[in-house]
């Protein structure tokens, strides 16, 4: 009992610290890619405490709920957006034997729970009683429909290769030559995951220059902060999943396993940030086209490839 509580506490700490590190990295990386410095004051050394200061500010702000809003749904939406990602982290191994809960159906659980997170955006979009929010919510829903399929197809390719749905089991079975073998699946998974997180260039539902902030338009204070936190936890979760499914998790020479996992996670998180700095935003019909005409066929090709190699071996 105690070790379960302890591991949950550890997960919670990881869950709160990693997104902050990713957020701070985003501040700094974006700034330096754009010939700026980024935060420099909070906490003294290169503004390391900027996000803590932001958190304090958010906590002090008034929690405004629009008069016409559907109050109860409006209030729980940020939680719905955030909590599923916390649950996902439970099933992800950091090192051999270092996982909070080793589920036999881990991959299935992870993909199912991740899909719930998007409901938060749809709920917020509907409950805000704001036309921009509704547009954003509808875009979120459409995006979820389009990108869940390639995500699941790509993930199932790895499960087929490993012959198990347990995530530690998949990492255990991973060999270096899976990198080229599962490369297409990995790319599809990462891109579809980005779209599910609504990160640029797939940030149509948020699109601040078009529909202000989409579902988040009416949110202030802590509830808005929870949405932002959900976004960064999402980055961490996506990077973790891509790492354990396609990049071999803890496998790697010289360094200890947990460090390898973290190195891969942060490399992927860096790519996520890099894409935001580089690309404009897709239009939603182009986004749908990319999913149905690009990613789904590619994921199917990967599935066929996995099947053929599996049979031949």
């Amino acid at each position: 009992m105690l070790d379960v509580v302890l591991s949950f506490a550890a997960i919670l700490i990881v869950f709160l610290v990693l997104p902050l590190i990713v957020g701070q990295t985003e501040h700094k990386v974006m700034a330096h890619m754009q010939s700026r410095l980024g935060p420099m004051y909070a906490g003294g050394f290169h503004g390391w405490a900027q996000l803590i200061a932001d958190g304090v500010k958010f906590a002090q702000k008034e929690d405004v709920i629009p008069a016409a809003a559907d109050r109860r749904i409006f209030m729980i939406a940020p939680g719905v957006a955030l909590v599923p990602y916390l649950l996902v982290l439970i099933a992800i191994p950091l090192d051999r034997g270092l996982v909070a809960v080793d589920l036999d159906l881990g991959l299935f659980f992870v993909l199912a729970v991740m899909g719930v997170g998007v409901l938060g955006a749809i709920m917020a979009g509907w409950a805000s009683a704001n036309k921009y929010s509704v547009l954003g919510g509808m875009r979120s829903a459409a995006q979820l429909m389009a990108y869940e399929l390639p995500l699941v197809l790509a993930a199932s390719s790895v499960a087929m290769a490993a012959g198990t749905l347990s995530i530690p089991g998949i990492v255990e079975a991973w060999q270096w030559w899976w990198l080229p073998w599962q490369a297409i699946g990995g790319a599809v998974f990462f891109v579809a995951g980005l779209a599910e997180l609504r990160r640029p260039p797939f940030d149509m539902p948020i699109a601040e220059s078009e529909i202000i902030m989409g579902p988040m338009t009416e949110y202030t204070g802590m509830r808005f902060a929870l949405f932002m936190l959900a976004e960064y936890v999402g980055i961490v979760v996506l990077s973790f999943l891509t790492t354990v499914l396609f990049l071999g998790g803890w496998h790697g020479p010289f360094l200890p396993g947990w460090l390898w996992t973290l190195v891969k996670v942060f490399a992927l998180a860096f790519v996520v940030i890099w894409l935001r700095v580089t690309y404009p935003r897709l239009r939603e019909d182009q986004l749908q086209k990319l999913a149905w005409a690009g990613l789904v066929p590619l994921a199917l090709v990967q599935l066929a490839l996995t099947g053929v190699v599996k049979v031949l071996l």
């Binding site: 010939s35 700026r36 559907d70 940030d203 220059s209």
Partner: protein
């Protein structure tokens, strides 16, 4: 629980749907201020669009009638806050024409140089802000780096970063500082070296191309009907540039290369802006060289304490960075104009949105709006 009906029929033909009316603005991130667009949406497709203007009306034309010419220059450089120097020019050109006053040759060349630098500043602003509206955040910072460099030389000469107030009837406020021309040339050379970075960053990006090519096509007829001018008109193949077709200042002696495109879509408009930027940098260089070669002499004329413009009327128009900017000056011999009508570029350019927007998606609306390169102060005056 409140019950609510929202008419978003996402493509469902058989279900009863209702159109949604969406007010873009007057407070909206992509309207650069307080333009308001009243859209009727079917899903996300725009059925009708109506630009509603006037939220920033400051009564500029009425104020012109109760201010003397020195004060009018100050008022006039504010309607389009990205082209302060170019706005001043029209006023002083009109007043000088009625006065029969000939500004000194050094003033003419210095004005031309400053007008081109102003054009560079203006275009850099839009080259940065347009990608931002499409979701690319980085080009903005590249463009602002360049703006900072050019603004430094403008600030050195006039003290202002946006509202230069450097024109006077009969010339310029002061002579050029020592060594300033060299600093101009250095800034221009550095900017010319850096502009390809912005180009590489965004112009050929696949997503940028997908968002802009074929979107918001403006036809030759629409341009003629609505009096659209400037880079927007030239992107649709309307080959009109007052610097070449009705030259003022030192433009008759300058090789003005008029940039045109035929596609008329958002991408063409962006390309025209980028190419015009390069042309302006070249023109600025030529002007700086000519100024160096000119013999020393006055930069302005001594004016009487109370400047009265003789009775008459004239129309002075200039090729402002955003299009044709005209002043119709009617004087009754007083120290203030009897009427000073302002024809600003953005006012005409924005009217055509009514025809351009229907049929496009909300996302395209932002792409089109951004590519119409307007300043709200220039619309509302």
């Amino acid at each position: 629980m409140t019950e609510r009906v929202v008419g978003i029929g996402a493509g469902a033909k058989e279900l009863a749907t209702e159109d949604m009316i969406l007010n873009i603005g007057p407070q909206h991130p992509s309207t650069h201020g307080v333009l308001r667009l009243r859209l009727t949406l079917d899903g996300e497709r725009i059925a009708t669009a109506e630009p509603i203007i006037g939220y920033m009306h400051r009564g500029a034309e009425k104020l012109f009638e109760v201010r003397d010419y020195r004060q009018i220059i100050m008022l006039a450089n504010r309607h389009d806050w990205l082209s302060g120097f170019a706005n001043e020019l029209g006023v002083v050109l009109a007043a000088e024409r009625l006065l029969g006053m000939e500004p000194p040759v050094r003033a003419v060349w210095a004005r031309t140089l400053l007008a081109e630098l102003n054009r560079v500043l203006n275009h850099l602003m839009f080259l940065g802000s347009y990608p931002l509206e499409l979701g690319a955040i980085t080009p903005l910072f590249y463009a602002f780096d360049e703006r900072e460099r050019i603004q430094a030389v403008m600030e050195e000469i006039s003290g202002g970063r946006m509202h230069y107030m450097f024109n006077r009837v009969g010339g310029l406020k002061e002579d050029l500082p020592l060594g300033w021309l060299d600093r101009v040339s250095a800034a221009v050379a550095e900017t010319r070296r850096r502009v390809p970075d912005i180009e590489d960053l965004i112009l050929h990006n696949d997503i940028f191309l997908a968002r802009t090519t074929g979107v918001g096509v403006l036809t030759h007829d629409q341009i003629m009907q609505y009096g659209v001018s400037g880079p927007i008109a030239r992107a649709s193949g309307v080959d009109l540039d007052l610097r070449r077709d009705d030259p003022y200042l030192a433009y008759p002696e300058l090789p003005v290369k008029v940039v045109t495109r035929s596609a008329g879509d958002c991408h063409a408009r962006f390309e025209v802006l980028l190419d015009q930027l390069k042309v302006s940098l070249d023109l600025a260089d030529t002007c700086a060289d000519r100024l160096r070669a000119l013999p020393p002499g006055p930069i302005n004329q001594r004016l009487p304490k109370v400047l009265k413009v003789p009775e008459g009327h004239t129309y002075a128009w200039t090729e402002n960075p955003l299009g044709i900017n005209g002043y119709y000056l009617v004087s009754r011999g007083d120290k203030t104009p009897w009427r000073l009508k302002l024809r600003s570029a953005s006012y005409n350019n924005i009217q055509v949105l009514r025809e351009m927007l229907p049929g496009h998606l909300v996302a395209d609306m932002v792409a089109i709006l951004g590519s119409m390169f307007f300043v709200v102060g220039d619309i509302d005056k």
